[in-house]
Amino acid sequence: MSPQVLIDGIIAGSTIGLGAIGLTLTYSILRFANFTHGDFLAWGAYLTLTVSGFLGGLLAGLGIGDPLGPFSFGWGLPVSLLAGMALTVLLTLGLDKVLFGRLRRRGADAIIIVMASFGASMALRSLLEFIFTANPAYFTRELQIAQKIGMGMRATPDQMLTVGLTAVLVIALHVFVTRSSTGRAMRAVSENPGLAGVYGLDVQQVIRVTWIIGAALACVAGVMSGLLVQIRPYMGFDLLLPLFAAAILGGIGSIPGAMLGGLIIGLAEAVTVQVVGAEWRAGVAFVVLVLVLILRPSGLFGRRV
């Protein structure tokens, strides 16, 4: 086995981990498995792509559209990413307003809300296919050469950037949740929403913050995946199983757990691709999921479940 699987796994795991964090937060605070989360990744990528389409021409016109340093993209992408994150947040808040929030207020069972998310997922996916067609799209056509990064491993500058960005985001989020008063409120709602209200916390506000964080990270993960692989309407749906596997492996509600779970799934996939064959990649998350549910259903850092 070549050491390259390590870096390949970490790169794939970064995307999975970022996506799984949103999933685990929604699960622990809204108490349902959100099947639309994968589509938030895809929508994040497409929304960012759309903005970058407008912006690209503009920046090129201004003569500042060239790629940044060793990377395959120019200023357009980071700026579009911020806009894409904001738009993805609006999408999820809108969806919560018209769908999930309504069910919640009516006191619907979790299973009803899960089913609703399943339906919304199909609708969101079809809408992407309708608007953007099923053909893959790309943020950039620039080719990147993988560079030696030591120990016989290679990675492109874009890949290294996504890994670095993931590390920064996860650490920042972890500090936010463990140190800030908003994070404390999130932990309170996740333990007992009724009591959180009694303590004076506005649970609806905490739910909004959760959507905002989950959607923003989903957009980043979608854009990273789109940058390193490609953008397709089904990209989020295809990531759904790895996302769930990572969130459950890490222990529902745990941010470091979801990230670690993502990395483990990513590594397991990379090893499988190299040892068994690329066609088995999609089955890896499934196998991990089944193993976790049998051996340690509460996950690595799990407290509840």
Partner: protein, 243 residues
């Protein structure tokens, strides 16, 4: 004018199944009232509904001049209604200090540190180990933390659901000692209790709830010999409203 005013108040978990039925009640500022009744009478349901944890199905509640019928719990907490549920009344996965900090956020920034210090001084058991997970506390200490959390925000009225339930006699004594201090500080107190004797000693007025309805409302002394209370609990006497 009364501080807490219930009119034709009904509440329950399902729309067509009221548990608490047509209750009228007035509690004045500074008063201490205990709510008694057999198991399943709807005592917890009544105060949970006042605190926004169970839906009000009819009638109204007012806190001073504000209509708080079906107001969300967090708004009530901010409005000065302190509530301590019967069970699961602290965040077990957080430290004692974090439990206090969450509540402290209802206060203006400048007052938070002082007020927390004041409450810790009142509960030395908690003060000794602020970084302990609340889940690691004993039953009595948990009730202390729950009460301290509610008091931290200086509520106009404090509603407690069986704070002495499941505690050893010694701890029951401690809890009631704490309640006596709270009472002495002039906080309006509404207390649901099974520990009738201690509750009657602490409060000046008792409300008896039987099968979701008000069966008695009056000064505690008339209930002290236990005969009337026994009759009320068994349902052989109804709606004797002395107030």
């Amino acid at each position: 004018m009364s501080l807490l005013r219930l009119r034709d108040f009904s509440a329950g978990y399902e729309t067509d199944l009221p548990i608490v039925k047509h209750v009228d009640m007035d509690i004045s500022r500074g008063e201490a009232v205990c709510i008694l009744g057999p198991n399943g009478a709807g005592k917890s349901t009544l105060i949970k509904a006042i605190a926004g944890q169970v839906r009000c199905l009819g009638g109204s509640v007012h806190l001073a001049d504000d209509d708080i019928t079906n107001a969300p719990s967090h708004a009530l907490a901010r409005r000065g209604l302190g509530f301590v549920p019967q069970t699961e009344n602290i965040f077990t996965q957080m430290t004692i200090r974090e439990n206090m900090q969450i509540a402290a956020e209802l206060l203006p920034k400048a007052r938070r540190a002082d007020q927390m210090q004041r409450l810790f001084d009142m509960f030395p058991d908690l003060k000794a180990r602020p970084n302990t997970l609340a889940g690691a506390l004993s039953g009595g200490q948990r009730q202390m933390l729950a009460a301290a959390r509610a008091l931290l925000t200086v509520p106009e009225v404090l509603i407690l659901d069986e704070p002495s339930a499941g505690l050893s006699p010694k701890l029951v004594g401690q809890v009631f000692e704490t309640l006596r201090q709270i009472r002495a500080a002039g906080v309006t107190l509404v207390l649901v209790e099974q520990n009738v004797r201690a509750a009657l000693d602490l409060t000046e007025r008792a409300v008896v709830l039987v099968d979701g309805r008000l069966a008695h409302d009056g000064p505690t002394d008339v209930l002290r010999d236990g005969k009337l209370l026994g009759e009320l609990f068994l349902g052989s006497r109804h709606a004797e409203v002395v107030a």
